[in-house]
């Protein structure tokens, strides 16, 4: 391949970010056009990569030596496989949709779009990096745009939330960084490439367990796994809709992506994996149940959806913790599904706040008659998230519960599956309850109905695209699993999985 496609996926948004950043004054109103063009180009590229024959993916790998001095070697290596491609596609898609969704943003739109595009640079980089140094840099690059997105465009408590988000996740990244130091110097002795580390291997058992812990902590905060989740509700509630969509849709996935990519690499952590397995499953189940109970207690739609992210990512953690073929497969599928569904969820919540003036369920009621389009999309998004058969969420949850069942059977702890069922029941409960309070019943008189309006055409198209995809992948999950299966079996062939 002569065209460096993967580098382009990072460079296109970077160029776009620089361009939009300097579109001050009268040109400000064209920033959204530039952003749309560049995100669309990245989306087209990612689709092109997606529809390439899967054997060709490995040929796309690009490898440039970056720093080679004083006994260390860092390289810019971009590579793509079945796991990466889904995340890259998700990033490119959501980024484009978010730009379109925010078409009417009028507060300094040039900076707004520059920040979005800068986010895309970091996200693309994380999902394609094959070198720990590059991976870490890209991981941190996502922080600053999000910090400014929240503190410039966010809600009333934005300053507090932005700083909390920034520092909390930065601390976790630094802990992860120590893990990376240990990992790299303990194996390849200074070559930061993924492949060099995996090939060298050879960590002692104690060291494996220790480093796994550091890396897992760094990833778990990003996911986030309770009790390290407290930055998330604040950040989500205060972030602008675009920020929340990206935060839930793709940024949280960085954590679970990292766990699959690094922690579940049997070449490195074969001895640590069984030790950490119960912790992962335990934390995952705790996250599921805790998230659900937190959801029930919320009155703010957006906050409820934020907590539902925690419980859904808890399911992903359970799937990864199973360390079985089916568990990891559906963990990845759930990452993808949750990316699309949570994007729709946060858009709907953002629209409620914007169009009705409040997201408080106690104040809303009977909105279905007043805003039928809103009601339709809210129902689709909520139903998908609670796992209605025929939509994406169902496939993911079904597979993950099956994986959990298998694991519990193997360790003789069958009754715990009841917690999984409780989770499903209560998830359905709070979503349906929320819809009932918001959409149905008597039309509320507690909000300014004069100004309450239904969603506009642009938002409608964006949500429709998401809805179609959610249904499409729900009916034909093979479209996604065709990418996941070869990836998972490649880890299985490496001897990495336990069951």
């Amino acid at each position: 391949m002569d065209v460096p496609i993967l580098s382009l996926l990072v460079l296109l948004p970077l160029i776009g970010a620089v361009l939009t950043l300097f579109m001050g004054g009268a040109r400000t109103k064209y920033a959204k056009v530039v952003a749309a063009v560049f995100t669309a180009a990245a989306l087209v590229l990612s689709l092109y990569v997606m529809f390439m024959p899967s054997g060709d993916l490995a040929n796309l790998t690009e490898n440039y030596t970056w720093i080679e001095s004083a006994g260390i070697k860092m390289s810019i290596i971009f590579g793509i496989d079945g796991l990466s491609i889904l995340m890259v596609f998700l990033t490119a898609l959501l980024m484009f949709l978010v730009v379109v969704f925010s078409w009417n943003e009028e507060d300094r739109p040039n900076y707004f779009h520059a920040l979005l595009l800068a986010m895309e640079v970091g996200l693309m980089g994380v999902y394609m990096a094959q070198d720990y140094f590059l991976f870490y840099i890209m991981w941190e690059v996502t922080l600053i745009p999000m910090f400014f997105l929240i503190s410039w465009y966010g809600g009333p408590r934005r300053h507090y939330s932005a700083i909390k988000f920034f520092i909390y996740t930065h601390v976790a990244s630094l802990i992860m960084l120590i893990g990376i130091f240990g990992l790299v110097f303990g194996t390849s002795g200074g070559d930061f490439a993924f492949a060099a580390v995996a090939n060298a291997g050879g960590l002692s058992e104690a060291m494996q367990i220790f480093l796994f812990g550091l890396l897992f902590f760094g990833f778990a905060v990003k996911m986030p796994v309770p009790p390290f989740h407290t930055w998330l509700p604040d950040a989500h509630v205060e972030a602008p809709t675009a920020g929340s969509v990206l935060l839930a849709g793709v940024m949280l996935k960085m954590g679970s992506y990292g766990i699959i990519r690094v922690c579940l690499d049997a070449d490195i952590f074969a001895l640590a994996m069984p030790v950490w397995q119960p912790v992962m499953i335990g934390l995952g189940i705790f996250a599921m149940v805790y998230g659900v109970y937190a959801c029930i207690a919320q009155n703010d739609l957006k906050k409820m959806v934020a907590y539902s992210s925690i419980s859904h990512m808890g399911m992903v953690l359970v799937g990864m913790g199973c360390m079985s073929e089916i568990g990891i497969e559906f963990a990845i599928f759930q990452m993808f599904a949750h990316g699309l569904i949570s994007a729709a969820l946060f858009m709907v919540c953002g629209l409620a706040g914007h169009n009705f003036g409040t997201r408080d369920m106690r104040l809303l009621g009977g909105m279905a008659g007043k805003a039928p389009r809103f009601a339709l999309f809210m129902m689709i998004a909520f139903m998908a998230s609670l796992g209605l058969p025929g939509l994406m969420g169902f496939i993911a949850e079904f597979g993950l519960l099956y994986g959990l069942w298998e694991y519990l059977a193997s360790v003789d702890l069958m009754p715990i599956i009841l917690l999984g069922l409780l989770y499903m029941l209560l998830t359905a409960g709070y979503y349906i309850w929320a819809m009932q309070k918001t959409l149905f019943g008597k039309l509320t008189d507690k909000i300014d109905l004069e100004h309450a309006h239904d969603i506009g055409n642009i938002e409608c198209v964006v949500l429709a695209v998401l809805a179609v995809l959610i249904a499409l992948f729900g009916i034909l999950p093979g479209l996604a699993t065709d990418y996941i299966m070869p990836f998972v079996s490649s880890i299985v062939n490496a001897g990495g999985l336990l069951i």
Partner: protein, 505 residues
């Protein structure tokens, strides 16, 4: 090209004899003598500024040429030109050049322009002598010269009582630290019978038999304390915030980036070499622990106290203390790779901290106050300065892909990597402390960024930034980005310098 340089160097060495190996220093001494003369003749500060700057540039070019041609040589048995000393010289020249470059346009600069540039040139020359000195007395004298010039520099803002107070404080504490150093040196001379550091009869050659020798240990402790003042390691740091606040801003930047690095050069030349020579001795482990604790306390106190500062110069002073703590990790770890990280961090510190001081100086010249609340809404009033300041602060906090991240990355990873390329968890606690400190520091840096970008300005009035300031800020911005993204060249230099340092053992 190389032939021309070689014949030039040959001709010069015929002329100067061994003096060729201190040629860069001599050039700066010429600058120190000529610049006040020129000022008294022309009565123009710009003339002596240009002269000093040009001679600094010449000195830097000469150093670079010598790095590629002669690479090694000793002068008068006191000074040694090698990869380490030449790299440190370049650092001091960069600091001095930056200071001279922005001083002319700076509002706080005094009427005594001729003396001002002479003091800076002289201080840089003395720093360079210190970097190449191999004898305890030569080091002591060099450091004293730098100190005395610095007292005068701090006091030059004569009409401001804060400046005089700072100078007096600096003088008294400096005198105390000199006394401690000299006392330590005398003990060591008494025990070893030598003032030369290296060589067959030197101090380093004798350290392996010094375990349990109390006068020697007391001597070392005295010197650590004395030079601890210079690098403002906690608990010897109390002078630095007052001095940085009281002195004119270019001078504060000069002290924070220049004279502190000289302290590190001394510590590396004396202690690192000495402790590595002790090899597996019990004594060196004790001293490693001393430095590890010093490092941990220094970075923690620096960062925690910085949080509560409301004056930007004081905040930068405390952040400098914290950065000194990071560099002290090198002395605890004592591996070659860690030294590379430490040297590299000194350079990135010059561009990011120096850059931050340049921005502060530019804004003071433009009429802005020194309080952090004065920076509210700066992004609207001085967009370029605000953007640059944000980059410098994020770089100081270690956010990738800026210079501060890359250097901290290497420095911290150096604390975990063993020379053979494995992992050693001895200093894990120190790295954890360092990393958590990095996170703390993000809080107060982000607060300034928030003030600049999120808060509303008191007035919308634009702040004019002078041309020299703009150029200097732009250079530092380029430095912060280039050293972060493409550190290869400098890393190679640091690597060679570390080799040279370890070759002294």
């Amino acid at each position: 090209m190389a032939d021309i340089f070689n014949s030039m160097i040959d001709a010069l060495s015929d002329l100067l004899g061994q003096g060729i190996y201190v040629l860069p220093e001599i050039i700066l001494m010429v600058a120190a003598v000529l610049s006040p003369l020129l000022y008294f003749i022309t009565k123009k500060g710009t003339a002596s500024a240009v002269l000093t700057f040009v001679l600094m540039a010449v000195s830097a070019v000469v150093t670079c040429i010598m790095m590629h041609t002669v690479t090694y040589g000793t002068a008068f048995g006191l000074f040694e030109f090698d990869a380490f000393s030449s790299l440190m010289m370049l650092l001091f020249l960069a600091v001095g050049g930056l200071t001279v470059f922005i001083s002319q346009g700076h509002v706080e600069t005094t009427k005594h322009k001729g003396e001002y540039y002479a003091l800076i040139a002289g201080a840089v020359a003395a720093m360079m002598f210190v970097a190449s000195a191999t004898n305890l007395v030569a080091i002591f004298v060099g450091v004293e010269v730098v100190s005395i010039f610095s007292y005068a520099l701090v006091a030059l803002k004569k009409n401001d009582p804060r400046s005089s107070e700072a100078a007096v404080k600096y003088l008294i504490i400096g005198a105390l630290s000199s006394a401690l150093t000299l006392y330590g040196m005398s003990m060591i001379y008494g025990v070893t019978g030598s003032l030369d550091l290296y060589g067959p009869d030197g101090i380093v050659a004798q350290v392996s038999v010094m375990a349990g020798n109390w006068p020697f240990i007391i001597g070392c402790v005295g010197m650590i304390a004395g030079y601890g003042f210079k690098i403002s390691a906690v608990p010897f740091h109390s002078w630095s915030p007052d001095v940085y606040e009281g002195a004119s801003t270019p001078v504060s930047g000069f002290l924070a980036t220049g004279s502190k690095k000289m302290g590190f050069a001394v510590i590396l030349k004396i202690f690192l070499v000495m402790f590595v020579a002790m090899e597996t001795g019990v004594l060196s482990e004790d001293f490693q622990m001393v430095f590890a604790i010093l490092a941990a306390i220094t970075m923690t106190v620096g960062n925690v106290v910085a949080i509560s500062q409301t004056n930007i110069k004081r905040m930068l002073a405390y952040s400098s203390i914290a950065q000194a703590g990071y560099i002290l990790i090198v002395l605890a770890v004592m591996s070659q790779y860690a030294v590379v990280g430490g040297l590299f961090h000194m350079f990135t510190h010059v561009v990011m901290k120096g850059g931050a001081f340049v921005v502060v100086a530019a804004l003071i010249t433009a009429g802005l106050g020194e309080r952090i609340s004065d920076y509210n809404g700066l992004a609207k009033r001085a967009p370029f300065a605000a953007a640059a300041m944000m980059l410098f602060l994020f770089s100081l906090a270690g956010i990738p892909p800026l210079a501060g991240f890359t250097s901290k990355f290497i420095l911290f990873s150096g604390a975990l990597a063993t020379p053979a390329g494995g992992v050693d968890l001895t200093w894990l606690w120190l790295v954890l402390v360092a990393v958590l400190n990095s996170a703390i520091s993000l809080y107060y840096y982000a607060r300034v960024v928030k003030a600049m970008y999120v808060e509303k300005p008191q007035t919308e009035e634009r702040l004019p930034i002078g041309r020299a300031f703009t150029v200097a800020i732009a250079l530092c911005v380029i430095g912060v980005i280039v050293l972060g993204v493409y550190p290869n060249v400098l890393l190679d230099l640091c690597s060679t310098a570390a080799d040279a340092l370890f070759a002294l053992v």
